[in-house]
Protein backbone atom coordinates (compact mmCIF):
# COMPACT_ATOMS: atom_id res chain seq x y z
CA UNK A 1 0.00 0.00 0.00
CA UNK A 2 1.27 3.41 -0.88
CA UNK A 3 0.89 6.05 1.78
CA UNK A 4 0.42 9.69 0.93
CA UNK A 5 3.97 11.00 0.91
CA UNK A 6 4.46 11.55 4.57
CA UNK A 7 2.81 14.36 6.44
CA UNK A 8 2.29 17.13 3.79
CA UNK A 9 -0.99 15.57 2.59
CA UNK A 10 -2.25 15.36 6.13
CA UNK A 11 -1.04 18.86 6.95
CA UNK A 12 -2.91 20.25 4.00
CA UNK A 13 -5.98 18.29 4.96
CA UNK A 14 -5.91 19.40 8.56
CA UNK A 15 -5.45 23.04 7.59
CA UNK A 16 -8.61 22.73 5.56
CA UNK A 17 -10.40 20.60 8.14
CA UNK A 18 -12.81 23.34 9.08
CA UNK A 19 -14.27 22.78 5.65
CA UNK A 20 -13.31 19.13 5.37
CA UNK A 21 -15.74 17.24 3.24
CA UNK A 22 -17.32 14.32 5.01
CA UNK A 23 -15.47 11.65 3.15
CA UNK A 24 -13.38 9.79 5.70
CA UNK A 25 -14.52 6.28 6.52
CA UNK A 26 -12.05 5.42 9.28
CA UNK A 27 -13.91 6.02 12.55
CA UNK A 28 -10.78 6.56 14.64
CA UNK A 29 -9.54 9.26 12.26
CA UNK A 30 -12.78 11.18 12.60
CA UNK A 31 -12.50 11.02 16.38
CA UNK A 32 -8.84 12.03 16.37
CA UNK A 33 -9.38 14.92 13.97
CA UNK A 34 -12.14 16.26 16.21
CA UNK A 35 -9.52 16.62 18.95
CA UNK A 36 -6.73 17.85 16.67
CA UNK A 37 -8.94 20.64 15.37
CA UNK A 38 -9.28 21.91 18.93
CA UNK A 39 -5.52 21.71 19.46
CA UNK A 40 -4.92 23.70 16.28
CA UNK A 41 -7.61 26.21 17.16
CA UNK A 42 -5.89 26.89 20.48
CA UNK A 43 -2.40 27.06 18.98
CA UNK A 44 -2.18 28.10 15.34
CA UNK A 45 1.61 27.86 15.07
CA UNK A 46 2.73 26.00 11.90
CA UNK A 47 4.68 23.59 14.07
CA UNK A 48 1.48 22.61 15.85
CA UNK A 49 -0.23 21.85 12.56
CA UNK A 50 2.70 19.68 11.50
CA UNK A 51 2.69 17.88 14.87
CA UNK A 52 -1.02 17.18 14.51
CA UNK A 53 -0.55 16.01 10.93
CA UNK A 54 2.14 13.60 12.08
CA UNK A 55 -0.21 12.26 14.70
CA UNK A 56 -2.87 11.66 12.07
CA UNK A 57 -0.32 10.13 9.73
CA UNK A 58 0.80 7.81 12.53
CA UNK A 59 -2.76 6.69 13.10
CA UNK A 60 -3.18 5.76 9.45
CA UNK A 61 0.24 4.13 9.28
CA UNK A 62 -0.68 1.89 12.23
CA UNK A 63 -4.02 0.96 10.72
CA UNK A 64 -3.19 0.69 7.05
CA UNK A 65 -4.43 -2.91 7.06
CA UNK A 66 -7.98 -1.90 7.91
CA UNK A 67 -10.32 -1.69 4.92
CA UNK A 68 -11.76 1.70 5.91
CA UNK A 69 -8.30 3.20 6.51
CA UNK A 70 -7.03 1.82 3.22
CA UNK A 71 -9.90 3.42 1.33
CA UNK A 72 -9.17 6.76 3.01
CA UNK A 73 -5.47 6.47 2.18
CA UNK A 74 -6.23 5.69 -1.45
CA UNK A 75 -8.47 8.73 -1.63
CA UNK A 76 -5.84 10.93 0.05
CA UNK A 77 -3.19 9.59 -2.31
CA UNK A 78 -5.30 10.33 -5.38
CA UNK A 79 -5.74 13.93 -4.26
CA UNK A 80 -2.05 14.71 -4.18
Amino acid sequence: MEHPDNTPSFTSRLERSGHWSKDLEFLAANMLIARLRLVMYADQQPATVVRCAMELYGLYASNSGLPSARRDLERLGSER
Binding site: L24, M31, L32, A34, L59, S62, N63
Partner: protein
Protein backbone atom coordinates in the same frame (compact mmCIF):
# COMPACT_ATOMS: atom_id res chain seq x y z
CA UNK B 1 -27.55 -17.55 15.46
CA UNK B 2 -24.98 -18.94 17.91
CA UNK B 3 -25.95 -19.27 21.53
CA UNK B 4 -24.93 -16.18 23.51
CA UNK B 5 -26.33 -16.65 27.02
CA UNK B 6 -25.16 -19.45 29.30
CA UNK B 7 -25.71 -20.78 32.79
CA UNK B 8 -23.02 -20.58 35.48
CA UNK B 9 -22.30 -24.29 35.10
CA UNK B 10 -21.90 -24.00 31.34
CA UNK B 11 -19.54 -21.03 31.65
CA UNK B 12 -17.53 -22.81 34.34
CA UNK B 13 -16.99 -25.69 31.94
CA UNK B 14 -15.81 -23.29 29.20
CA UNK B 15 -13.35 -21.67 31.60
CA UNK B 16 -12.05 -25.00 32.83
CA UNK B 17 -11.51 -26.13 29.24
CA UNK B 18 -9.05 -23.23 28.83
CA UNK B 19 -11.16 -20.88 26.72
CA UNK B 20 -10.41 -17.17 26.69
CA UNK B 21 -13.65 -15.39 27.49
CA UNK B 22 -15.15 -11.94 27.98
CA UNK B 23 -18.20 -12.26 30.22
CA UNK B 24 -21.13 -10.13 31.27
CA UNK B 25 -23.51 -10.97 34.09
CA UNK B 26 -24.87 -10.12 37.47
CA UNK B 27 -22.32 -9.87 40.29
CA UNK B 28 -23.72 -12.95 42.05
CA UNK B 29 -23.15 -15.28 39.08
CA UNK B 30 -19.75 -13.88 38.12
CA UNK B 31 -18.54 -14.47 41.68
CA UNK B 32 -19.37 -18.18 41.31
CA UNK B 33 -17.03 -18.74 38.35
CA UNK B 34 -13.71 -20.57 38.63
CA UNK B 35 -10.42 -18.82 38.00
CA UNK B 36 -9.20 -18.81 34.44
CA UNK B 37 -8.46 -16.79 31.36
CA UNK B 38 -11.44 -14.46 31.47
CA UNK B 39 -12.53 -10.94 32.18
CA UNK B 40 -16.01 -9.86 33.14
CA UNK B 41 -18.25 -6.99 34.01
CA UNK B 42 -21.59 -6.62 35.73
CA UNK B 43 -24.89 -6.12 33.96
CA UNK B 44 -28.09 -8.16 34.11
CA UNK B 45 -29.26 -6.79 30.75
CA UNK B 46 -28.42 -8.45 27.47
CA UNK B 47 -29.36 -8.81 23.87
CA UNK B 48 -29.46 -12.59 23.61
CA UNK B 49 -30.14 -14.92 20.73
CA UNK B 50 -33.89 -14.47 21.31
CA UNK B 51 -33.73 -10.71 21.85
CA UNK B 52 -33.44 -8.32 24.78
CA UNK B 53 -33.59 -9.93 28.22
CA UNK B 54 -32.94 -9.06 31.85
CA UNK B 55 -31.59 -11.98 33.87
CA UNK B 56 -29.64 -12.22 37.11
CA UNK B 57 -28.85 -15.88 36.35
CA UNK B 58 -27.50 -15.92 32.82
CA UNK B 59 -24.06 -14.88 31.58
CA UNK B 60 -23.28 -13.45 28.17
CA UNK B 61 -20.21 -15.10 26.71
CA UNK B 62 -17.84 -13.74 24.09
CA UNK B 63 -15.39 -16.48 23.24
CA UNK B 64 -12.17 -15.29 21.73
CA UNK B 65 -10.78 -18.75 21.06
CA UNK B 66 -11.87 -19.04 17.47
CA UNK B 67 -10.41 -15.71 16.39
CA UNK B 68 -7.70 -14.87 18.83
CA UNK B 69 -4.49 -16.86 18.76
CA UNK B 70 -3.50 -15.48 22.10
CA UNK B 71 -4.96 -12.97 24.46
CA UNK B 72 -3.27 -11.25 27.35
CA UNK B 73 -5.22 -9.89 30.29
CA UNK B 74 -4.17 -6.54 31.68
CA UNK B 75 -5.48 -4.33 34.47
CA UNK B 76 -5.45 -0.57 34.76
CA UNK B 77 -6.57 2.07 37.19
CA UNK B 78 -7.24 5.78 36.88
CA UNK B 79 -3.50 6.52 37.02
CA UNK B 80 -2.45 3.93 34.44
CA UNK B 81 -5.38 3.83 32.01
CA UNK B 82 -3.60 6.32 29.77
CA UNK B 83 -1.25 3.45 28.82
CA UNK B 84 -3.98 1.29 27.36
CA UNK B 85 -3.29 2.22 23.74
CA UNK B 86 0.45 1.83 24.19
CA UNK B 87 -0.03 -1.68 25.56
CA UNK B 88 -2.49 -2.44 22.77
CA UNK B 89 0.12 -1.69 20.12
CA UNK B 90 1.08 -5.34 19.62
CA UNK B 91 -2.50 -6.62 19.76
CA UNK B 92 -4.92 -7.05 16.86
CA UNK B 93 -7.63 -5.60 19.04
CA UNK B 94 -8.37 -5.02 22.70
CA UNK B 95 -11.58 -5.53 24.64
CA UNK B 96 -12.01 -3.34 27.72
CA UNK B 97 -14.54 -3.24 30.59
CA UNK B 98 -14.70 -0.40 33.15
CA UNK B 99 -17.15 -0.03 36.07
CA UNK B 100 -19.62 2.85 35.78
CA UNK B 101 -18.97 5.93 37.88
CA UNK B 102 -15.49 4.80 38.90
CA UNK B 103 -12.53 7.19 38.75
CA UNK B 104 -11.13 5.05 35.92
CA UNK B 105 -14.37 5.52 33.97
CA UNK B 106 -14.17 9.29 34.39
CA UNK B 107 -10.48 9.41 33.48
CA UNK B 108 -10.97 7.32 30.35
CA UNK B 109 -14.07 9.21 29.26
CA UNK B 110 -12.46 12.61 29.50
CA UNK B 111 -8.96 11.71 28.38
CA UNK B 112 -8.98 8.83 25.89
CA UNK B 113 -8.70 10.89 22.69
CA UNK B 114 -5.58 12.52 24.16
CA UNK B 115 -3.93 9.29 25.31
CA UNK B 116 -0.67 8.40 23.59
CA UNK B 117 -1.24 6.24 20.48
CA UNK B 118 -4.99 6.83 20.68
CA UNK B 119 -6.79 4.38 18.38
CA UNK B 120 -3.63 2.91 16.88
CA UNK B 121 -5.39 -0.41 17.45
CA UNK B 122 -9.12 -1.15 17.77
CA UNK B 123 -10.26 -0.76 21.38
CA UNK B 124 -13.82 -1.89 21.96
CA UNK B 125 -15.70 -2.49 25.17
CA UNK B 126 -18.24 -1.31 27.62
CA UNK B 127 -19.04 0.34 30.90
CA UNK B 128 -20.28 -2.17 33.47
CA UNK B 129 -23.56 -1.37 35.18
CA UNK B 130 -26.10 -2.72 37.61
CA UNK B 131 -29.76 -3.64 37.72
CA UNK B 132 -31.74 -0.41 37.70
CA UNK B 133 -33.57 -1.54 40.84
CA UNK B 134 -30.17 -1.46 42.57
CA UNK B 135 -29.23 2.11 41.66
CA UNK B 136 -27.66 3.77 44.67
CA UNK B 137 -27.38 0.45 46.53
CA UNK B 138 -24.58 -1.46 44.84
CA UNK B 139 -21.62 -0.60 42.63
CA UNK B 140 -20.81 -1.83 39.17
CA UNK B 141 -17.84 -4.20 39.10
CA UNK B 142 -15.35 -5.71 36.72
CA UNK B 143 -13.65 -9.08 37.25
CA UNK B 144 -10.13 -10.33 36.61
CA UNK B 145 -10.75 -14.04 36.03
CA UNK B 146 -7.12 -14.97 36.70
CA UNK B 147 -7.66 -14.25 40.38
CA UNK B 148 -11.45 -14.03 40.45
CA UNK B 149 -11.06 -10.60 41.97
CA UNK B 150 -13.94 -8.15 41.72
CA UNK B 151 -12.79 -4.58 41.08
CA UNK B 152 -14.88 -1.48 41.76
CA UNK B 153 -12.35 0.96 40.33
CA UNK B 154 -10.19 -0.13 37.44
CA UNK B 155 -10.33 -1.56 33.98
CA UNK B 156 -9.81 -5.09 32.74
CA UNK B 157 -8.60 -5.56 29.19
CA UNK B 158 -8.07 -8.51 26.87
CA UNK B 159 -5.35 -7.65 24.38
CA UNK B 160 -5.96 -10.19 21.60
CA UNK B 161 -3.84 -11.29 18.66
CA UNK B 162 -5.14 -12.77 15.45
CA UNK B 163 -3.77 -15.32 13.00
CA UNK B 164 -1.86 -13.90 10.06
CA UNK B 165 -4.23 -12.77 7.33
CA UNK B 166 -7.00 -11.74 9.70
CA UNK B 167 -7.84 -8.17 10.59
CA UNK B 168 -10.14 -6.67 13.23
CA UNK B 169 -12.16 -3.57 12.55
CA UNK B 170 -14.31 -1.63 14.95
CA UNK B 171 -17.52 0.09 13.91
CA UNK B 172 -20.56 1.73 15.43
CA UNK B 173 -24.20 1.72 14.49
CA UNK B 174 -25.94 4.87 15.57
CA UNK B 175 -29.42 5.45 14.26
CA UNK B 176 -29.78 8.86 15.90
CA UNK B 177 -29.39 11.93 13.71
CA UNK B 178 -29.05 15.60 14.50
CA UNK B 179 -32.45 17.25 14.88
CA UNK B 180 -33.60 20.54 13.44
CA UNK B 181 -32.96 22.52 16.63
CA UNK B 182 -30.19 25.01 17.36
CA UNK B 183 -26.48 24.24 17.63
CA UNK B 184 -25.40 23.61 21.21
CA UNK B 185 -21.84 24.26 22.41
CA UNK B 186 -20.12 24.01 25.78
CA UNK B 187 -17.37 26.03 27.40
CA UNK B 188 -16.03 23.26 29.64
CA UNK B 189 -15.34 19.54 29.09
CA UNK B 190 -17.22 17.34 31.50
CA UNK B 191 -20.03 15.04 32.58
CA UNK B 192 -22.20 17.97 33.57
CA UNK B 193 -23.00 21.44 32.34
CA UNK B 194 -24.63 24.44 33.93
CA UNK B 195 -24.47 26.69 30.92
CA UNK B 196 -24.52 26.05 27.20
CA UNK B 197 -24.29 28.28 24.17
CA UNK B 198 -27.52 27.52 22.32
CA UNK B 199 -27.89 29.06 18.89
CA UNK B 200 -25.11 31.48 19.81
CA UNK B 201 -26.68 32.59 23.10
CA UNK B 202 -25.34 31.53 26.50
CA UNK B 203 -28.19 30.09 28.59
CA UNK B 204 -28.89 28.35 31.87
CA UNK B 205 -29.20 25.10 30.07
CA UNK B 206 -31.20 23.10 32.60
CA UNK B 207 -33.84 25.82 32.67
CA UNK B 208 -33.74 26.14 28.89
CA UNK B 209 -34.36 22.39 28.48
CA UNK B 210 -37.19 22.54 30.97
CA UNK B 211 -38.83 25.51 29.28
CA UNK B 212 -38.58 23.82 25.89
CA UNK B 213 -39.88 20.55 27.36
CA UNK B 214 -37.02 18.83 25.57
CA UNK B 215 -37.23 15.04 25.36
CA UNK B 216 -34.04 14.08 27.17
CA UNK B 217 -34.49 10.42 26.31
CA UNK B 218 -32.96 11.51 23.00
CA UNK B 219 -29.19 12.11 23.06
CA UNK B 220 -27.11 15.03 21.99
CA UNK B 221 -25.52 14.23 18.65
CA UNK B 222 -22.18 15.58 17.47
CA UNK B 223 -21.03 15.33 13.89
CA UNK B 224 -17.42 14.14 13.78
CA UNK B 225 -16.80 14.68 10.07
CA UNK B 226 -19.74 12.55 9.09
CA UNK B 227 -19.62 10.13 12.03
CA UNK B 228 -22.39 10.81 14.52
CA UNK B 229 -21.32 10.52 18.17
CA UNK B 230 -23.91 10.65 20.95
CA UNK B 231 -23.89 11.95 24.50
CA UNK B 232 -26.88 10.86 26.60
CA UNK B 233 -28.67 12.80 29.28
CA UNK B 234 -28.52 11.34 32.78
CA UNK B 235 -30.77 13.94 34.39
CA UNK B 236 -31.76 17.57 34.27
CA UNK B 237 -31.88 19.30 37.64
CA UNK B 238 -33.49 22.66 36.96
CA UNK B 239 -33.54 23.57 40.66
CA UNK B 240 -29.78 23.13 40.90
CA UNK B 241 -29.27 24.43 37.34
CA UNK B 242 -27.24 21.44 36.27
CA UNK B 243 -27.51 18.92 33.44
CA UNK B 244 -25.69 15.61 33.85
CA UNK B 245 -24.57 13.21 31.11
CA UNK B 246 -23.47 9.59 30.72
CA UNK B 247 -20.44 10.66 28.67
CA UNK B 248 -18.59 13.95 28.65
CA UNK B 249 -19.33 16.86 26.38
CA UNK B 250 -16.28 18.58 24.90
CA UNK B 251 -15.41 22.18 24.24
CA UNK B 252 -15.29 23.04 20.55
CA UNK B 253 -17.68 20.27 19.48
CA UNK B 254 -21.06 21.28 18.09
CA UNK B 255 -24.02 19.24 19.30
CA UNK B 256 -27.69 19.12 18.47
CA UNK B 257 -30.53 17.36 20.19
CA UNK B 258 -31.41 14.18 18.25
CA UNK B 259 -34.40 13.83 16.00
CA UNK B 260 -37.02 11.43 17.46
CA UNK B 261 -36.79 7.79 16.37
CA UNK B 262 -39.89 5.67 15.92
CA UNK B 263 -39.56 1.91 16.39
CA UNK B 264 -35.87 1.63 17.24
CA UNK B 265 -35.66 -2.11 16.53
CA UNK B 266 -37.09 -1.74 13.03
CA UNK B 267 -34.95 1.32 12.26
CA UNK B 268 -31.90 -0.45 13.64
CA UNK B 269 -32.41 -3.44 11.38
CA UNK B 270 -32.73 -1.13 8.38
CA UNK B 271 -29.38 0.52 9.21
CA UNK B 272 -27.36 -2.70 9.51
CA UNK B 273 -24.87 -2.82 6.63
CA UNK B 274 -25.29 -5.66 4.17
CA UNK B 275 -22.66 -8.41 4.18
CA UNK B 276 -21.39 -7.23 7.52
CA UNK B 277 -19.04 -10.16 8.03
CA UNK B 278 -18.20 -11.95 11.25
CA UNK B 279 -19.22 -10.02 14.36
CA UNK B 280 -16.86 -11.02 17.15
CA UNK B 281 -18.32 -8.76 19.83
CA UNK B 282 -21.04 -6.16 20.18
CA UNK B 283 -22.71 -4.19 22.94
CA UNK B 284 -25.66 -1.83 23.05
CA UNK B 285 -26.80 0.87 25.44
CA UNK B 286 -29.12 0.49 28.41
CA UNK B 287 -30.96 3.62 27.26
CA UNK B 288 -31.72 2.09 23.88
CA UNK B 289 -32.89 -1.02 25.75
CA UNK B 290 -35.18 1.01 28.01
CA UNK B 291 -36.46 3.80 25.80
CA UNK B 292 -36.90 1.58 22.76
CA UNK B 293 -38.34 -1.28 24.82
CA UNK B 294 -35.93 -3.85 23.40
CA UNK B 295 -36.92 -6.57 25.87
CA UNK B 296 -37.93 -9.53 23.71
CA UNK B 297 -36.86 -7.76 20.53
CA UNK B 298 -33.89 -8.73 18.40
CA UNK B 299 -31.42 -6.26 16.92
CA UNK B 300 -30.46 -8.06 13.72
CA UNK B 301 -27.65 -10.56 14.32
CA UNK B 302 -26.09 -8.62 17.18
CA UNK B 303 -26.00 -10.05 20.69
CA UNK B 304 -24.09 -8.77 23.68
CA UNK B 305 -24.21 -6.99 26.98
CA UNK B 306 -26.51 -4.01 27.45
CA UNK B 307 -24.30 -1.41 29.01
CA UNK B 308 -23.90 1.88 30.83
CA UNK B 309 -21.68 3.20 28.05
CA UNK B 310 -20.07 1.81 24.93
CA UNK B 311 -16.40 2.11 24.06
CA UNK B 312 -15.53 2.46 20.42
CA UNK B 313 -12.00 3.84 20.74
CA UNK B 314 -13.55 6.40 23.10
CA UNK B 315 -16.71 6.46 25.21
CA UNK B 316 -19.97 6.87 23.31
CA UNK B 317 -23.63 6.60 24.33
CA UNK B 318 -26.86 5.18 22.92
CA UNK B 319 -24.89 3.41 20.24
CA UNK B 320 -24.19 -0.15 19.19
CA UNK B 321 -20.44 -0.79 19.07
CA UNK B 322 -19.20 -3.88 17.28
CA UNK B 323 -16.03 -5.61 16.23
CA UNK B 324 -15.58 -7.48 12.98
CA UNK B 325 -12.85 -10.00 12.27
CA UNK B 326 -12.38 -10.55 8.58
CA UNK B 327 -9.72 -11.55 6.09
CA UNK B 328 -7.18 -8.82 5.50
CA UNK B 329 -7.25 -7.25 2.07
CA UNK B 330 -5.01 -9.05 -0.36
CA UNK B 331 -4.91 -12.30 1.58
Amino acid sequence: MAKALFSVAEVARLIESGKTLALAGDERVLRQLPRGNWIGGTTPYFIGDAGGVCSRDLIHVTELGEDAQAAQIARYDARSIDRVYIDAATAAYSLIIIPAQSPTHLRFALGAPSFERFAHRPLIGWIAGIHLDDLGKVAALVFDGRSGEAIADGAVVLHARLPKGKVAELAILNIFEMGEGPDIKFEKDGFEAREAVVGGVRVNWAKWLEQKQADTRLPLVADYLGTRVNVSFQNVDAAASVVRFYAPVFVGVTYRHARPVRDYAAQFTRHVPADIGQVTFSCNCILNYLYSELEGKRTAAFTGPVTFGEIAYQLVNQTLAYLLVNDAAGT
